[in-house]
């Protein structure tokens, strides 16, 4: 019941929002924020359940030849994705309060809250059909926010890019799911393993992988990303970049890898290569950007490429570290985009060369920006470092070359992150846009604070997260042994569950 409450609380708040009369925006704001905060508070209850317990809720949904159930669950993996969602949603919704047209704020908040529900649905769905339902529904609020709540033609083009790319990924995923169901005869696939024919498995895995790679995104499937991240209002980007893009990795961890272990290993090489290309391509492209949001967008591509490397290195350290990295990147991306949004609101430009020296006029903004930026470039003590470090250590074991190449990104990240920070915050106050800068309002400071606090928390105590993930991951029992080549991998408690292979069967 708690699960259903957490998932649908944002939507309920959104519906209540519509009952508020149009004129006054204040009650609408209060309801939206209360809904988001309450959702976060309730989702914390999943933590108390202990590392191995998983909250479950399951009732039959469609019976017959192809049964599907309304199955929700929170386990060691989805727990952190759910928490990330509920945590990032609060500042995103709070930040949306300053939307220019207060009469349309209701619709804006409605869509953000509905988006939160779909995200929570994705991360808690235990049934593949249910997962897909939420997966596709995520498109609609984002599309509408991009199309209806922005005012430039470029943003509207971005809406189409977003819809078509992600729609294509979703449809290919649907084809993969239907193809999979032809074998499994059920959508209830979690915790089971199935014997797919050698001819079918690569195709099915490819269909799943394509959808997840587009969502993450990973080079060369990132076509929708720069425009979306740059053009969307910052609360929307905070949720898309901070949370939604993590659904790709989540899909790999929870569905694609356990279902198709053989194909996953066969494709590990190309996928690692894509990850490394993303790491470098993202970093180098970020170096050349003048638009600060585009720059952060490409840095995002770089960081998430690293996650793909970690995942397909199939190492006992790197795989759980990828979860840490993803959560940490979600926090960092959300914080950065929100802060950049504040700057954009004031200076009305995103061009880095159009302003500088903001720190002199807005010291609080400078401090918060500094923390987020340091986390992004991987300063020890902040969450970014913990994730990257563990990934590099782990991936080195199985993919030394790829890891070595990816290490370059650490240096590049330092360069581009410092460029943003130096360019915007330090230096002389000279450019015309500088005149418009004002100090952060208390609301703006407070709303970013939880994200920064979480970065500190994960930075100093990454084990808090790591200890909770592996054991629960391993608790999925594989029903039948699926033979695969990587003998060493089967020894790992983590991966025995992840890959659907069982140690006992050997």
């Amino acid at each position: 019941m708690l699960l259903n409450t957490v998932i649908f609380l944002p939507l309920a708040a959104a519906v209540i929002l519509l009952l508020v009369p149009k004129g006054d925006a204040r009650p609408a704001k209060a309801i939206a924020l209360a809904g988001a905060v309450a959702t976060f508070a309730l989702s914390l209850a999943f933590l108390g359940a202990g590392p191995n317990a998983s909250a479950q809720f399951s009732i039959p949904w469609i019976t017959g030849a192809l049964p599907a159930s309304y199955h929700l669950r929170v386990d060691g993996i989805s727990l952190f994705f759910v928490l990330l969602t509920t945590l990032v949603s609060v500042p995103a919704i709070w930040a949306a309060f300053s939307y220019a047209d207060q009469r349309r704020l209701r619709g804006y908040l409605f869509l953000l809250l509905a988006f939160e529900t779909t995200l929570l649905g994705v991360f808690t769905a235990g049934d593949l059909l249910l997962f897909y339902v939420y997966w596709d529904l995520m498109l609609i609020p984002v599309f509408l926010l991009l199309a209806g709540y922005t005012d430039s033609a470029a943003a509207r083009r971005a809406a189409w890019g977003y819809l078509i790319y992600n729609g294509a990924g979703g449809l290919v995923l649907l084809l993969g799911i239907v193809g999979m169901v032809a074998v499994t005869r059920t959508f209830e696939v979690l915790g089971h393993s199935f014997a797919f024919s050698a001819a079918a498995e690569p195709w099915l895995f490819a269909a799943f992988a394509l959808a997840f790679l587009i969502k993450t995104p990973v080079f060369p499937f990132h076509g929708w990303m720069p425009a979306t991240y740059t053009q969307a209002p910052s609360p929307v980007v905070a949720m898309v970049a901070g949370v939604q893009s993590k659904a790709g990795l989540y899909g790999f961890l929870v569905f694609a890898l356990p279902l198709f272990p053989n194909a996953a290993h066969r494709f590990a090489g190309p996928l690692v290569a894509l990850g490394v290309i993303s790491v470098l391509y993202g970093a180098f492209t970020a170096l050349g950007q003048r638009d600060m949001k585009t720059l952060v967008a490409f840095s995002s591509l770089s960081h998430l490429g690293l996650v793909i490397l970690a995942l397909f290195a199939f190492d006992i350290t790197s795989v759980p570290a990828s979860i840490l990295m993803v959560v940490s990147h979600g926090l960092i991306a959300a914080a950065l985009f929100l802060l950049l949004g504040f700057i954009e609101e004031r200076t009305r430009t995103r061009d880095l060369s159009a302003f500088g020296g903001l720190g002199a006029r807005a010291p609080r903004l400078q401090v918060l920006m500094l923390i987020a930026a340091m986390a992004a470039l991987g300063l020890p003590g902040l969450s970014g470092f913990a994730g990257e470090f563990l990934i590099f250590i782990g991936s080195w074991q199985t993919q030394p070359v790829a890891t070595a190449i990816s290490l370059l990104s650490v240096i590049l990240a330092t360069v581009y992150v410092l460029r943003v920070f130096q360019g915007a915050m330090n230096g002389p106050l000279s450019a015309p846009a500088d005149a418009r800068i004002t100090e952060l309002r208390p609301r703006e400071g407070w709303l970013v604070a939880p994200l920064l606090a979480a970065m500190f928390w994960l930075g100093v105590w990454p084990a808090w997260l790591n200890d909770r993930t592996p054991t629960t991951v391993g608790s999925h029992e594989a029903q039948t042994a699926v033979p695969h080549k990587a003998q060493a991998i089967a020894e790992s408690k983590v991966l025995s569950g992840l890959l659907g292979a069982s140690e006992t069967a050997r």
């Binding site: 949904w61 469609i62 619709g107 997966w135 498109l139 599309f143 209806g148 032809a182």
Partner: protein, 480 residues
């Protein structure tokens, strides 16, 4: 004494009641001088209800009458229910203050009713003559209905185009039927199976011609060229009826023919599948550039017809229930979409320019919201009936060998293109508003009822598809 056919009047009761309603409507129109439009339409809706009530005892049964010419089984029952629902909703949509009926509501209502009778005959017809009879009754009435908006020149054009091309298609249909009869020596579909198995050239030629006629009525590409013009020109309510009822009735014919005649010989269906693939591509790509909502929905109906053919891939009667599910879903979402369109635009004008929908969400939030849901369903977004329908179709197609996989891939591609098509309308509605807010049409209450019907169906089948499966014992297993 001659051998007279035994007639089971209980089986024919739904048809007889509907015909009687049609005659009654004509008489009432004669008697009452300034015939109140809504009285006539109310009579029509009552007739639908009575006909449906008469069909209830037939649900779940399998009987034939008229020497096996007419079957009442779970398959035809499902289609009858869909046709009657469509007719009732069409009456609701027609009751708006606009020149839907060319100022002659009596004949308009009667024609709609006779059209539906034709459709129901098609759903139950078990021989070639029955099929042709149903097709002609449906088509002849529809030719006139397409022109009832005759103050608009487009409506006249639509009627003329429809009648010219439609009669050509009927020619193909009857010529094909004649050849099939020649090949099999019988008009009963069940007897055609032997001839089909022999693969006689006469049979192949006959089936080819017959299929051309049917494909025309279904608007399968390349026989679709009439569709956009006729949909655009016809009065809105008639377009809605055309999009749903004609398609449903004709698909019932095609499905019964294929399942009875070909049974497990899927090679003979390759032309049908080729038509489906072409339709999905032409329909979706054709819709991309349309600025008129009715033309857009016309192309959409071409593509959707292509999707539905996927239900005929593979063997086994599961395809029939898939087809029926998709047609019902398609009916609900189309009727809903047309109902939302009918709600807007005062004084007889049809609100069909997509640019005109700009900012609708901020002016008429509820209309825009429902329209968004119906269009999302047409695009196959989850939590709507269209999604479950596509899921079932894909599942059916993937079991259908290489052609099935090719069709499934085309469906995916087509759906992606259709995202652009349908979201183009949604996109307009969410852009900042400009200009005048559209007026509501006269009798908005009737449209709201129609929207409610469509919305209930779309949401129910999308979120609780179980509802359909609970009705399964009563639906979709064709008798032979």
């Amino acid at each position: 004494m001659m051998q007279l056919p035994a007639i089971d009047y209980a089986v024919l009761a739904p048809l007889i009641i509907l015909v009687a309603t049609g005659l009654l409507v004509l008489l009432v129109d004669l008697v009452s001088r300034q015939a109140a439009r809504n009285v006539l339409y109310g009579l029509g809706v009552a007739g639908c209800a009575a006909s449906f009530a008469a069909s209830l005892p037939l649900s779940g049964r399998t009987v034939t009458t008229l020497s096996g010419a007419f079957a009442a089984d779970r398959f035809s029952w499902g289609f009858d229910a869909l046709l009657l629902l469509t007719l009732a909703v069409t009456f609701l949509l027609s009751s708006l203050k606009r020149a839907e009926d060319g100022g002659s509501p009596g004949s308009y209502a009667a024609l709609l009713i006779f059209c539906t009778v034709g459709g129901m005959i098609m759903a139950g017809a078990a021989n070639l003559i029955g099929i042709f009879l149903g097709v002609e009754l449906l088509s002849l009435a529809l030719y006139i209905l397409a022109g009832t908006g005759y103050p608009r020149q487009a409506s006249q054009e639509a009627a003329l185009k429809y009648v010219l091309l439609g009669s050509l298609a009927s020619g193909f249909l009857i010529f094909g039927s004649a050849l099939l009869y020649g090949a099999a020596g019988s008009i009963a579909l069940a007897d055609l199976a032997t001839a089909a198995a022999s693969g006689a050239p006469l049979f192949v030629a006959g089936f080819g011609l017959w299929l051309v006629g049917i494909a025309f009525k279904l608007a399968l590409s390349p026989f679709h060229t009439w569709t956009p013009d006729v949909y655009e020109g016809s009065p809105l309510a008639v377009t809605a009826f055309m999009a749903v009822a004609v398609k449903a009735a004709t698909f019932s014919v095609l499905a019964r023919f294929i399942y009875t005649v070909f049974q497990h010989d899927s090679a003979a269906l390759i032309p049908v599948w080729a038509l489906a693939i072409l339709s999905m591509l032409v329909g979706n790509f054709g819709a991309v550039r349309q600025g008129n909502l009715k033309r857009l929905l016309a192309f959409s109906s071409i593509a959707q017809a292509g999707y539905i053919v996927l239900a005929l891939s593979g063997v086994g009667s599961k395809g029939l229930s898939t087809m029926l599910f998709y047609l019902i879903a398609y009916g609900f979402m189309n009727l809903g979409a047309f109902a939302t369109i009918s709600l807007l635009g005062d004084g007889g004008e049809e609100y069909v320019d997509i640019e005109g929908y700009r900012g609708l969400f901020f002016r008429r939030p509820w209309v825009a919201t429902w329209m968004t849901i119906f269009f999302a369903s047409l695009a196959g977004i989850p939590a709507t009936a269209g999604f479950i329908g596509k899921l079932l179709l894909l599942e059916q197609a993937l079991g259908g060998g290489p052609w099935g996989i090719a069709m499934a891939a085309t469906l995916i591609l087509g759906t992606l293109v259709s995202f652009y098509v349908y979201f183009k309308v949604i996109y307009q509605m969410f852009l900042p508003a400009q200009g005048q807010a559209p007026q509501f049409a006269g009798n908005a209450a009737a449209s709201w009822v129609a929207i409610a019907v469509g919305a209930t169906g779309v949401m129910l089948l999308g979120i609780v598809p179980q509802a359909f499966y609970l009705a399964q014992p009563y639906l979709a297993a064709a008798s032979r």
